[in-house]
Symmetry: D3
Subunit: 162 residues, 6 copies
Amino acid sequence: MNPDSLSHIDDANRASMVDVSAKKVTARTATAEAKVHVNEAVAAQFDGKDLVSKKGPVFQTAILAGVMGAKQTSNLIPLCHPLPLDSIKINIEFEGRTATIQCTAKTTGKTGVEMEALTGVNIAALTLYDMCKALDKGITITDLRLLEKAGGKSDYQADPEP
Amino acid sequence: MNPDSLSHIDDANRASMVDVSAKKVTARTATAEAKVHVNEAVAAQFDGKDLVSKKGPVFQTAILAGVMGAKQTSNLIPLCHPLPLDSIKINIEFEGRTATIQCTAKTTGKTGVEMEALTGVNIAALTLYDMCKALDKGITITDLRLLEKAGGKSDYQADPEP
Amino acid sequence: MNPDSLSHIDDANRASMVDVSAKKVTARTATAEAKVHVNEAVAAQFDGKDLVSKKGPVFQTAILAGVMGAKQTSNLIPLCHPLPLDSIKINIEFEGRTATIQCTAKTTGKTGVEMEALTGVNIAALTLYDMCKALDKGITITDLRLLEKAGGKSDYQADPEP
Amino acid sequence: MNPDSLSHIDDANRASMVDVSAKKVTARTATAEAKVHVNEAVAAQFDGKDLVSKKGPVFQTAILAGVMGAKQTSNLIPLCHPLPLDSIKINIEFEGRTATIQCTAKTTGKTGVEMEALTGVNIAALTLYDMCKALDKGITITDLRLLEKAGGKSDYQADPEP
Amino acid sequence: MNPDSLSHIDDANRASMVDVSAKKVTARTATAEAKVHVNEAVAAQFDGKDLVSKKGPVFQTAILAGVMGAKQTSNLIPLCHPLPLDSIKINIEFEGRTATIQCTAKTTGKTGVEMEALTGVNIAALTLYDMCKALDKGITITDLRLLEKAGGKSDYQADPEP
Amino acid sequence: MNPDSLSHIDDANRASMVDVSAKKVTARTATAEAKVHVNEAVAAQFDGKDLVSKKGPVFQTAILAGVMGAKQTSNLIPLCHPLPLDSIKINIEFEGRTATIQCTAKTTGKTGVEMEALTGVNIAALTLYDMCKALDKGITITDLRLLEKAGGKSDYQADPEP
């Protein structure tokens, strides 16, 4: 165990939210990504813009669910701060049998929006599963990760390849 | 496009929840899994039972978040049915630099709990990211998928390897 | 004041949920409707299937919001009972400058789903307003009412004309 | 279709939240209104201040539900921004067989509170329905609209008559 | 430490929901209570039925908040099961400078409603604090406890005096 | 009744949120406390850091529930304002048969965080009840009160003894 990183942990190692009261309000953005792999039966439903399913348009539904899910981030992740959001944008590209979902979140606040971007991608990916599970229960989500963040104490840029 | 699977889609392809009013109430279970890959700095915090972080105990927090997140499934996934839950159980194994998260959900109801199991795993994995992101912003979630379901019209068993 | 209907009201007239513990579990359905009136600028965006707006597809978004809103009914209406839902279906017809929104809710439970159907219509109508307000802030919602209910102590059928 | 208003719509017309990160924080207010029409049996319960029902005081309950509902706006309307609220005020006037509900919302933020005012009125109106439906299932909500907004890029004032 | 009660705890002592899938669906009720002590300035606002405050009627508001809060129990208490509720009833008695709040919850389900009754009392008590804090920041809540439960594996009856 | 405090109450005494639009944004903090009394069987589970129960670690779970509950304050307390939170910290001390729970909340906003601190304590205390009720249904919560607040129009400091 790294003794340095333990220096601020009390003996009982109890959960606690980071205190951001002394941090500056700045513009912050974060982008996250996931890949969703479907079988042939699902891929065959692609009409060039969206996957067509009995439950409705898959990407449209996934995008809306992702935007709404991103707004629930501080209710879902125990130690996340609730903060106003300036923008949540979700994009889905589909090629072969893989949907690539990206979510960019923006705030003007005291703490970053990495978790909002990750939650948006995540709920969109789960919704894609739900919309298509009648045709493929083996849909798998991979490479869910933060691509970049900017605007806080330090920026971050992921490697191009996961 | 597969014409058969389109036979029940109306022209406008609008979203709609599946009507389960005629389905039988049966005992249903589902198990989902994800793998979360961390760097050396995070892995070094493992004390044999949990990852120790400045924000608190990582697996404990992730498990509680996952259980609570699974209960939010029908609020997060647009076309999911709200249903009573008999049990949600989340387990996390850690080996090398990989945490394997499993969630099993149970209901006695008219529809399955795949989405509850997947959501529980998902929110637990995101919480693990949140708890450790000070040490590793490159944490990646992979192999998020359904392992098995039982109790409805048809059972499902995933391949051992993703 | 009607003395009969007051016979069960205590002196302080305090709020209280109806006790449904002795009621039978039966299949129940309810359908509600609203009309949403838009201006020419909005109506001109109709492509035969949906209103096209800068924020996205209007009816698709309104339908998903309505389904998700109907699931929040017992959280929004203070004395409503939380209950499992078998189906929520929202349909939107557009003719001239008027969108007609209908929502049908179904449960197998001890109490009716009128409020779920009304809430679904309502949130869909508000979402339509939100999607189009850049072109028309004067959008007006009228004739929001229950069309019919079935399956409880007594059925109900509204007059054809509001 | 109006080609101008389409200039910013991508081919797939996917849902997306407006990015308000560059907008100024200003004081913003909005007021919305609805009319709720009840039958004689309900109107006879008016004691000069409130409608008295078996479930409790109708206007008191509707006002509280409307205030709480307005706070849920960004959770209910998919593309609404979550924002802090300075005030939500709901007023109900009753005359003849019609209740007129008004809701005024205020924020100091980057985007307007029209949807908060409309949602507050809406949930109050639905609650009025719920409280009185034992006496009148035909209660109808009409003239739900924005009366005025101030404080953003442009103000708005509705016509006196709907 | 009592070795018997530890026999089912795994080494890591991780959180887990009780699995109720094998339990019988029965009618269950629970009643909880709390006492709220206010100062003279608040007590002087009692008009015989309610405390009158600038923010509105105190007990009416507290009762509605308690009912709505009880419906949120499984979202607030991490290991609680979501279950349908047949009834939530809150009563407040005021004598001298003490308000006694009772909440009775009922379900027909596989697990008890003690937490729903306790949460209802709790949120009602907190709301009473919020409504009156302009006159008394020292309001204190005491004797919050379960009074009785019935309908599950074992009944419970509290001692008359806390 | 105190005529002064009634001067702003309208005749119908209807609920209304305080309008904080003219208040200044300042740093605000509040601390609340409660005591939770358990029986011998529960106290015997204390391992020096936490109470060990079949459902998991009691204080860890209660702390997380309290932090998440504090974030729900404006959804639970009808007339509370939603506001961003800079920090929520919960501490639990255990001595003899009594757990003392404290919660400190911080915001940079227009209104105080007393209700957030009180709600955090409250949900933590209820969760402690839920985790231990298999061993003691008579667990009682007392002395729930505000300890101090700072940063608004006026500060507050409770008496040392409740």
